[in-house]
């Protein structure tokens, strides 16, 4: 299975200056690009699509990624041409969008136990940055100069990178023996310089931080803020709210928890919720109901950090988020969490691999033990499933971080378990040469990095 590059199907060169109404010194000479017919385009991308795994292909249990089914109707809702408007419309001409934004802010505030929400951040990491910038603005506003963000070693890489982007020094907190935050280590780590602790809960191996009340106390006592990384919120829906646990600021990964499609890597959206105390620092604009009249208006929070996206964020994604939450409602959301946790526990019970920590919730980190987790994963491809996240988090050796989500049924989980076990039990040679039944055999990633060829132009030069 091999599909030629578009460029290999024929390029055309246009003499730009021939037809241009502009003087030559303002234009390029020529433009060379593929010029396929529409039928060729349809075939090209149809074939490419068939060379790509997706949630609609089968199980996709990437731990920490929450790959759920993306309800088709949400696409139709987002495709409404009436919603396709320019962000610079005056408020009165865009009441429909403002209403949806307002309602979604409310939904998210309810779900997170937060007081105020911004929809602007275009991704989870952008939400993190927004949250940390809010924390920073809060401290500055109160005349505090704090330089550190504390992050557990098991946290997502984005947490570290975000803190650095915001100009903070990172203090890494080693995991306790039970895989959770060690209160003593935490107390040692926080202090006058602590701007915030960024915490994922359940954490990245699915463990709930049982001492969350004490953790919050330690951080708050030191004058720091508690940041909730929303990547694992799917485990808590209807069972616990970050706001009730003492978190001051959080982001939501709508493409995880609220089933908007991952789109091959994006777009997602990373709304941020905060407590009343932090609301004045939220990005601008926010949306509120107008006084008196029945309508909505944008406003700039008093001490706003400004903007984190040029306009209103990933609007089309936000529409799908609203539609998903409205579809599930209270009971559906709670059931999604319950079934996600049930599925993870059932699958862990069914596989031969050891799972060192527990009790976990929506995901677990099995260990491949003496095996190379990445090899086991490659071999799983041969059994018709997508493998879990591998070799992360590092607290579990040769980790296979697995998150089936609520959408798999028992038989699907059994298939997944079988793939795990077959791969895990396979001979070394089979593991090292896997996969063998996929469209492409194992791909040389080291070579790709050593000799980067990042465009068809680079291939042609070769």
């Amino acid at each position: 299975v091999h599909e030629p590059l578009l460029s290999e199907k024929g390029e055309e060169t246009v003499d730009v200056r021939e037809e241009s109404p502009l003087p030559d010194d303002l234009t390029r000479e020529e433009l060379t690009l593929p010029a396929p017919s529409e039928p060729e385009i349809a075939r090209h991308y149809t074939r490419l699509s068939q060379m790509n795994w997706a949630i609609d292909s089968g199980p996709y249990p990437l731990g920490s990624c929450t790959m759920k089914y993306n309800p088709k109707f949400t696409e139709d809702v987002a495709a409404d041409p009436n919603a396709a408007v320019h962000p610079d419309r005056p408020d009165r001409a865009v009441q429909g969008n403002l209403e949806l934004q307002y309602r979604l802010q409310e939904f998210l505030a309810d779900v997170g136990g937060m007081d105020a929400v911004t929809l602007q951040p275009p991704a989870g990491a952008a939400g993190e940055l927004t949250g940390i910038l809010i924390a920073k603005a809060y401290h500055e506003h109160h005349g505090n100069d704090r330089s550190e963000v504390v992050i557990p070693a098991s946290a997502h890489g984005t947490n570290f990178a975000t803190a650095a982007t915001a100009g903070y020094d990172v203090v890494e907190l080693p995991s306790g023996e039970d895989g959770r935050v060690d209160l003593e280590a935490l107390e040692a780590a926080v202090g006058d310089d602590t701007a915030a602790l960024m915490l994922t809960n359940p954490n990245t191996v699915g463990l709930f931080e049982r001492d969350i009340t004490e953790i919050a106390e330690v951080v708050h006592d030191a004058g720091g803020l508690l940041y909730y990384d929303g990547a694992n919120l799917n485990a808590l829906l209807g069972r616990g709210r970050p706001g009730d646990m003492g978190f001051d600021v959080m982001h939501y990964n709508v493409h995880k928890t609220f089933a908007t499609p991952h789109g091959g890597g994006g777009p997602g959206a990373g709304p941020v919720g905060v407590t009343e105390e932090l609301a004045e620092f939220l990005p601008s604009p926010r949306v509120r109901g107008t006084n008196g009249e029945k309508g909505y208006e944008r406003f700039e929070p008093a001490e706003s950090i400004g903007k984190v996206h040029g306009f209103e964020g990933n609007w089309l994604v936000l529409i799908k988020t609203y539609a998903y939450i409205a579809r599930l409602g209270d009971e559906g959301l709670a059931d999604a969490a319950a079934k996600a946790v049930l599925n993870a526990n059932y699958l862990a019970e069914r596989i031969d691999l050891e799972v060192p920590y527990g009790p976990f919730h929506h995901e677990f980190a099995a260990t491949a033990g003496e095996r190379d987790a990445a090899d086991v994963a490659k071999r799983m491809l041969d059994f018709g499933v997508h493998p879990p996240t591998t070799k992360w988090p590092e607290m579990v050796p040769e980790a296979m971080l697995t998150e089936p989500t609520e959408i798999e049924g028992q038989s699907s989980l059994d298939d997944l378990a079988e793939a795990f076990d077959l791969a895990y039990a396979d001979v070394d040679e089979a593991l090292e040469t896997a996969p063998n039944r996929t469209a492409a055999a194992r791909i040389d990633q080291v070579g790709a990095a050593r000799n980067p060829r990042l465009s068809w132009q680079a291939l042609e030069e070769d």
């Binding site: 091999h2 590059l5 460029s7 055309e12 241009s20 109404p21 010194d25 303002l26 390029r28 433009l31 690009l33 529409e38 385009i41 991308y45 490419l48 699509s49 790509n52 949630i55 609609d56 990624c65 109707f73 009436n82 320019h86 610079d88 419309r89 969008n97 209403e99 136990g113 991704a123 990491a125 993190e128 803190a163 982007t165 990172v170 969350i212 009730d244 789109g263 400004g306 903007k307 984190v308 040029g310 994604v317 409205a326 579809r327 599930l328 209270d330 959301l333 059931d335 319950a338 059932y346 019970e349 959408i407 028992q410 492409a440 194992r442 790709a448 980067p452 990042l454 465009s455 680079a458």
Partner: protein
């Protein structure tokens, strides 16, 4: 319907699974201390699929049915049906980052092709496979400048005409890197190169210019700006968009180091500002690029294959020393832009771009003919948009136009901005007539 409509479990299945696990109930799987457990209700009523479709349709119908002549950073053109039909294929839309390239060749190749198109449009050899939007791409360019420039400086110079929101984003990223943002002055809609040359010195790490500028003017001094930046060892970053790049001077040949801007002008409908950030740069900055890169390689059979590459730049490996915190990006929008570009082909792209020049000039001319209005305000070539000076207060004129069903920008006390594309060119006559009525 009491549970999630997308969880397939029958009651019997749930019971069997609980038995396998060895617990009594789903509740007992949760390890949440009583004190922080939530036992309330959000108060969100579940709707049916149909109910939500109706509800949202009613909401969106509350947006005024107006014809937009709006631009200033958010542009779109007619998106052919084939873009929706192909990008909506579930294998693309419902996939995730290509961590397992052996079963992700389709999306990887599509992104590789997208990168290649950007390489052609910018003339730069490296393009990543997306940033969030133009504003965040610009911001990442600034932090890249901070990393790669040996100068001791901390100033990022930006055009005096810069969209406020874009500057606000830039400032948020710059603050973390201890950079400060400063504007250089404009000369009739484009960069004042002399003023710029006077300003640039050791303290400047990056010079940012736009082409076209925020006022819709085509920048005439790209080469000169490039020389000023180069002479002072400042990174030269250019903001543009994929349609403009199809005909305007090739950035690489003007000495540009990094191109940022919008590719969402292709593939995306008007979408309330949602975008697709471009990031292209010179070879020497390859290992400092933010975001994802797709590279060509081989599989064990010796066949060409694609894979994410140079991931050691990224947050999931390099953590706080990563080139950026970006993880989830705009990959699917990049796919859409690539399909749209393929559908247009170079001919179609150039035609579309030429229309952006011609239609703007023609509309400005006709508005200029009206008494009480002068356009374009700047004596420059324009792309898509231009400003209009009105004798009456601009805000009042815009309000009156809105009454007649047209939306334009107010950008000064007596200054409007008008953007014309294939979406609204068919209504240009009506806009001119409406202008005539209200001024």
């Amino acid at each position: 319907m009491s549970g999630s409509p997308y969880a397939p479990h029958t009651d019997a299945e749930t019971a069997a699974m609980l038995e396998t696990i060895g617990v009594e109930s789903e509740e007992s799987l949760f390890d949440i201390p009583e004190a922080v457990a939530f036992d309330g209700e959000f108060g969100i009523d579940a709707r049916t699929e149909r109910g939500i479709r109706d509800e949202c349709a009613r909401m969106f119908a509350r947006n005024d049915d107006a014809t937009e002549f709006l631009g200033r950073g958010h542009y779109s053109h007619y998106v052919p049906s084939v873009v929706d039909h192909l990008s909506d294929r579930a294998e693309f839309l419902t996939s995730y980052t290509q961590y397992q390239p052996e079963i992700s060749q389709g999306f990887l190749q599509a992104l590789f092709e997208y990168q290649s198109m950007l390489v052609e449009l910018t003339g730069l050899p490296i393009a990543n496979c997306s940033m969030y939007d133009a504003a965040t791409a610009l911001s990442e360019a600034a932090t890249l400048a901070d990393r790669v420039r040996s100068t001791t400086g901390d100033v990022v110079l930006v055009p005096g005409h810069l969209r406020e929101g874009k500057r606000a984003v830039l400032e948020n990223y710059c603050a973390g890197a201890d950079l400060t943002v400063e504007a250089y002055s404009m000369d009739d809609g484009i960069a004042d190169v002399d003023a710029l040359a006077d300003r640039v010195g050791d303290d400047v790490v990056m010079v940012y210019a736009e082409n076209p500028t925020l006022r819709g003017c085509i920048e005439e001094n790209l080469d000169a700006i490039g020389e000023v930046a180069d002479d002072n060892d400042a990174l030269f970053t250019l903001g543009s968009d994929v349609v403009a790049l199809s005909v305007l001077e090739e950035p690489a040949s003007a000495g540009v180091d990094v191109v940022v801007g919008e590719a969402g002008a292709l593939g995306l409908p008007t979408s309330y500002g949602m975008g697709l950030g471009v990031f292209a740069c010179r070879e020497e900055h390859l290992r400092q690029v933010p975001g994802r890169l797709v590279g060509a390689s081989e599989d064990a059979e010796g066949d060409r294959a694609f894979t994410l590459t140079l991931q050691t730049r990224e947050q999931h490996i390099r953590k706080e020393r990563a080139t950026s915190n970006i993880c989830t990006n705009q990959a699917w929008v990049a796919l859409r832009a690539a399909i749209h570009a393929a559908w247009l082909g170079p001919d179609g792209l150039v035609d579309l771009a030429n229309d952006c020049v011609r239609d703007a000039a023609a509309l400005a001319d006709r508005i200029d003919d009206l008494s009480g209005a002068a356009a374009p305000v700047h004596d420059r070539h324009h792309f898509r948009e231009f400003t209009v000076r009105t004798d009456q207060p601009a805000a009042a004129v815009a309000d009156d136009l809105e009454e007649t069903g047209f939306l334009v920008h107010v950008v000064g006390e007596h200054l409007l901005q008008v953007c014309v594309t294939d979406h609204n060119a068919g209504r240009a006559d009506d806009l001119v007539a409406a202008f005539g009525e209200v001024i």
